[in-house]
């Protein structure tokens, strides 16, 4: 009897367990998963859910690895956001970096590649993105792909450089000019020639890595079918990836089971037009790649990097969502969504993304924003000012345009000056205040100048001064030394005065004695 009850309870549980299937269907909707990541990211950096992700705090990250992938994910999911602001900051940063030696990077071509994707995602033109110091338009495609070799080999950083160069070149199927340093075939050959015997790729060594293999496939995807060699390479790579997949649907890379490797495989399959939800090679024990990815999902909508708990690794707590896990899953969901809706692949930015050149209007709110800029600016207003100025330059004419332009240009200059001041103070501290043992009273002027320049900064700018505690330490030391010197001089002077007094008193005493003796003798002389 008891047993039967138990059995029927289990049956009931099974039935009820099956009922939420309707909800489970939503669980696999890439758009909803992506929205969860976006909501988590906003909460994580303190942006309210109704606001754009690409604003202020986030746009500060434009041009960095921590920032650029999110706009790519958002844009490829067709999400509306403040791309114009992100693009404006990105352009300003690129222009600045182009004025340094090595431009975006002395060795990493992938800086150009990531930036190109972010520019395209935000609606910009990577072949003419801002101007260099000679006033020439900056061409991220030429400098980062086919002409990169004129400065440094694309392969300087390894196979990554070739793979991402090809992905970048094919975002809009850019044409390579006759006199270019590298051709498409050069790049494809480089990728093919570094394929390992088991069909995979690796950053180094002979063991295939799922991430590198998946990225190589993403790059080669446009050529599969058209080129037999590439076709064979892709088939081998797919077999390799299928073999590497774990029974739980996910992957392991560098000894750690993680979500990002699985994301990259999803992107690779979508680039090849293979449905990851249906291809038998990528379903293990009924677990698809997507179920592999969802193992890493957190109740807050974000994703963890890994569940392999490493008690020493504070970067990848199994119970805390992680930025890199979030951004790569966002990209994977974009890839999957695009495949399911028959759109171009994740890194194929042709046509669909072609934006009509609608007239930009500098709104009353924008004018108000210009007029409400405070008198004394800080580097905190950098994003706002840069975005407004960029929008103004692209906007149709309006009455106060010149006035606004003048104000914004002045504001931008003022902020640039503050930034230069911050950089210079940091350099001065680094150069002049170390090592501490050699600090002497002669450094007082330098230290005091640094302190007074620091005090002149706004609170928001002061936080950008590095190792301020070392300056305080040095200032205390120098002031202490000066005080010691003053005490020394005062005491020395007192000692000297006492000495003079003493000598004077002895001298006077002697004189008095001598006079008395004289008087004494003269008395005798008078009596004579």
């Amino acid at each position: 009897m008891g047993k039967r009850l138990l059995t029927s309870l289990i049956c009931l549980a099974l039935i009820f367990g099956i009922i939420p299937c309707a909800a489970a269907a939503d669980e696999t909707n890439p758009l909803l998963i992506a929205q969860g990541i976006i909501d988590w990211k906003k909460a994580d950096i303190g942006i309210s859910a109704g606001d754009d992700l690409l604003c202020g705090k986030f746009s500060e990250l434009a041009g960095s690895t921590a920032g650029d992938w999110y706009p790519v994910g958002l844009s490829r999911l067709g999400k509306a956001d403040n791309y114009a602001e992100y693009l404006a900051v990105l352009k300003d940063r690129v222009e600045k970096r182009y004025r340094q030696s090595g431009k975006l990077s002395a060795v990493k071509a992938t800086e150009w590649h990531r930036l190109t994707l972010a520019v395209l995602a935000a609606g910009g033109d990577p072949t003419s993105f801002g101007t260099d110091e000679n006033g020439q338009p900056i061409n991220l495609i030429a400098d980062g792909t086919y002409d990169r070799g004129k400065t440094t080999s694309l392969g300087r950083q390894g196979i990554n450089g070739w793979i991402w160069a090809l992905i970048t070149l094919d975002t809009k199927r850019y044409e390579i000019p006759e006199n270019a340093y590298n051709t498409r075939d050069d790049i494809i050959d480089k990728i093919l020639s570094s394929q390992l015997p088991d069909g995979g790729w690796a950053l180094g060594g002979g063991v295939s890595d799922p991430d590198m293999t998946a990225m190589a496939l993403q790059a080669l995807a446009p050529y599969v079918g058209a080129d037999a060699k590439v076709q064979k390479a892709a088939d081998d790579a797919l077999l390799c990836l299928s073999a590497l997949q774990l029974p739980t649907g996910d992957y392991e890379s560098w000894g750690t089971r993680n979500v990002e490797s699985t994301d990259q495989v999803i992107i690779a399959l979508c680039c090849l037009g293979i449905d990851p939800m249906r291809d038998a090679r990528f379903i293990k024990n009924g677990n698809t790649l997507l179920s592999g990815v969802l193992r890493y999902r957190r109740p807050d909508g974000g994703f963890v990097h890994s569940y392999d708990y490493d008690e020493n690794n504070p970067a990848s707590l199994p119970d805390m969502s992680n930025s890199m896990a979030g951004e790569q899953t966002l990209l994977a969901m974009a890839a999957l969504w695009r495949l399911q809706n028959g759109m171009r692949t994740l890194y194929d930015f042709r046509l669909e993304n072609e934006k009509s050149d609608a007239e930009v209007v500098f709104s009353d709110a924008d004018i108000k924003a210009v007029n409400s800029l405070p008198e004394k600016l800080t580097t905190k207003q950098y994003v706002t000012v840069t975005a407004l100025l960029d929008k103004l330059e692209r906007s149709a004419d309006f009455a106060e345009k010149d006035e606004c332009r003048r104000k914004l240009a002045a504001a931008k200059e003022q902020i640039a000056k503050i930034q230069a001041e911050i950089d210079d103070i940091n350099a001065q501290i680094r150069e002049k205040l170390y090592p501490f043992e050699s600090i002497s009273i002669r450094d007082k002027k330098t230290v005091d100048l640094i302190v007074s320049r620091y005090n002149a900064l706004d609170d928001d700018d002061r936080v950008k001064i590095e190792r301020w505690e070392d300056v305080i330490k040095t200032k205390t030391q120098v002031d202490g030394l000066l005080r010691a010197l003053i005490i020394g001089i005062v005491l020395g002077t007192v000692a000297f005065l006492l000495f003079v007094l003493l000598v004077f008193r002895i001298y006077r005493k002697r004189r008095r004695k001598a006079k008395e003796t004289e008087r004494f003798f003269s008395q005798f002389a008078d009596e004579d």
Binding site: W254, G480, L502
Partner: protein
């Protein structure tokens, strides 16, 4: 007579004071300016910076860096040096203190700008990631172990030994087994 004795006494006292030093500090000031002094009670860690692998792979080195100015002939950029451990110090804090105190060039990506939430060391002593081949860069070891994560996340404790090592093979040439083959 009495006044003279007083004056002599005064002078002797002042000279004694001057000899013993006039650098008088409050307790706070003393603590602040001696925070990095090593005393028998202080907790310390040791840090060294080496680039021996560059010497072994000299042919792969960026030609602009082929000079003893950037690559010391013995591979030692900073010999093992002891630093006082302050409350909450990470490997990055000690490294930054060491390069500042010794005026060694360093460039890094801040924790906020990097996707893994830690500071990433791009270059030390003008040797950067990829300066010596496509698998080269800086890695660190604490008490002989290679941590799996960024240096600004590693909290140190008393007596630990930190080594910053340049690798030309993703750590395999310096004994970091976790990065690849020997584990599998």
């Amino acid at each position: 007579m009495k006044k003279d004795i007083l004056a002599v006494f005064g002078i002797v006292l002042i000279i004694a004071l001057l000899i013993s030093g006039t650098h008088i500090q409050s307790a706070d000031e003393y603590y602040l300016t001696h925070i990095d002094d090593i005393t028998p009670e202080s907790e310390t860690v040791t840090l060294s910076i080496r680039c021996d692998t560059v010497l072994q792979n000299y042919e792969n080195l960026d030609p602009a860096l082929k000079s003893a100015e950037f690559v010391p002939p013995d591979g030692v950029i900073l010999p093992p040096t002891e630093y006082v451990l302050r409350e909450g110090d990470t490997v990055f804090d000690i490294l930054e203190r060491a390069v500042r105190y010794n005026k060694i060039q360093m460039e890094f990506q801040g924790a906020k700008e990097s996707p893994f939430g830690s500071v990433y060391i791009q270059g030390i002593h003008y040797l950067y990631e990829f300066s010596c081949g496509s698998l080269s860069g800086w890695t660190y070891r604490v008490d002989g172990e290679f941590p799996h994560y960024g240096c600004s996340l590693y909290k140190l404790s008393d007596g630990q030994n930190i080594e910053w090592i340049y690798t030309c093979a993703l750590g395999q040439d310096v004994g970091a087994g976790w990065m690849g083959e020997d584990e599998k």
